[in-house]
Symmetry: C2
Subunit: 223 residues, 2 copies
DNA sequence: GCGCAAACTTGCGTGCACGCACTTTTTCTG
DNA sequence: CAGAAAAAGTGCGTGCACGCAAGTTTGCGC
């Protein structure tokens, strides 16, 4: 009993493998072309051609032009975060497990990923697409959180996962803001620290909620 | 109390009023046409024509076709939520203030709003646009929360506001799911209750985080 | 009053997302 | 093993988002 998702495919058919191969080819082509020429000099038609599929098929895999490029960097980060949380000992504090897993998965930047990130930060459209990837963290994170706090708190798990995703997004926004607008709501500006610092700072306020959810399942008190 | 200003009203210039009038005309036209014919039978060109502007100008006001229709229902709900929170007595628990303000603003459905909501639930694109409006709650809510917990917790306020927005979104998703997909993450299905119940249930897990943030600013407060 | 500058509107062109119908490929079943 | 069924790929057409470069209105200083 595992959920149909982005985890792995033992051997569910020859068909699925070709599908993943096509997706990977599109990711690769999109990133390569974006790095070679500018990001604005790459059309969907070019990416599709480089990957050997029709432009129409491209949209069967990615909803937008930027998604493919960003996808090459983010890859299956959601699944890795969820796996990292699940890998932590069951006795550890859930809030810490989640925080460390997130920081861990966002700090190990590969060589090509670093170059791609540099490209992403320059273009607004790519930055937005990159920030939108945080939304996909929700579902897998919901699963692992639900395993910790029990099925009774399924609803809670979903809210907590979504809150984590929102916090990560805020951290990323604050991180890649070299000359961005700082007037948004309260006009308050927090100096951009390192990414791990931003992530920890953003996730810290949620810790009490995790503690409470976790405490509810471990019946230390009765009556 | 018609101004949509987030914080101040810089100048009630004649120009700004025409702008708001155009926006209102577009909202009105979009909703009316969508109700009259089906939602799919309304093009941007039609809305623009009914409002007396060019199709190009339409996009200067709304980023997508669905936004205008949804905007007619949501109006300035974000501002009203923020105002409702600010209106609560300073001594009250912040978590309760936010929860009640949200429930309050999402339950007073006008007559035409009810009809529009019925329309929204039928079309997936409109539902998505409706859910996306929760994102706009963040900024104003951040401001009022920051006022309560102090500028020191500005970062915290932003995270909490985003978490609230995410929770509201989840509540709405669960509410308008007549025959939707229930397989998302854990395959767990929670029977759809009333909207106020959904909202309270979604916001409840965040209460400890609010308490902790509030406690950090008010030295020792028992309540 | 008188322009001037900024803001708003608009026509035009380009690329893109996506529905629909059809073809091709893979998988299931008798 | 063959044919059916399901699923993925593809061509085509439509409407839309948005940059750009005018044209037009509003507001302000002189």
């Amino acid at each position: 009993m595992w959920h149909a998702g982005t985890v792995t495919t033992p051997s569910p058919g020859l068909r699925e493998r070709k599908k993943q191969a096509t997706r990977e080819a599109l990711r690769e082509a999109a990133l390569r072309l974006a790095v070679e020429r500018g990001a604005d000099q790459v059309r969907v038609e070019d990416i599709a051609e480089a990957a050997g599929v029709s432009p129409r098929t491209y949209n069967n895999y990615f909803a937008s032009r930027e998604q493919a490029i960003v996808s090459a960097v983010t890859a299956d980060r959601e699944a890795r975060i969820a796996a990292a949380v699940a890998a932590r000992p069951a006795g550890a504090r859930l809030a810490d497990a989640v925080t460390e897993a997130v920081v861990e998965q966002y700090t190990n930047a590969g060589e090509r990923e670093q170059e791609a990130l540099l490209l992403i930060t320059t273009r607004t459209a790519l930055r937005d697409a990159f920030l939108d990837t945080t939304a996909s963290i929700g579902p897998p994170l919901t699963t692992v959180i639900a395993e910790r706090i029990g099925d009774a708190g399924a609803h809670t798990a979903r809210v907590l996962a979504a809150s984590v995703a929102a916090a990560i997004r805020i951290a990323l926004e604050g991180w890649l803001r070299p000359a961005g607008s700082a007037e948004a709501a309260g006009g308050l500006v927090v100096p951009s620290g390192s990414l791990p610092d931003q992530l920890r700072a953003a996730l810290a306020p949620l810790a009490p909620a995790f503690d409470a959810a976790e405490r509810r399942t471990h019946p230390i008190k009765r009556g």
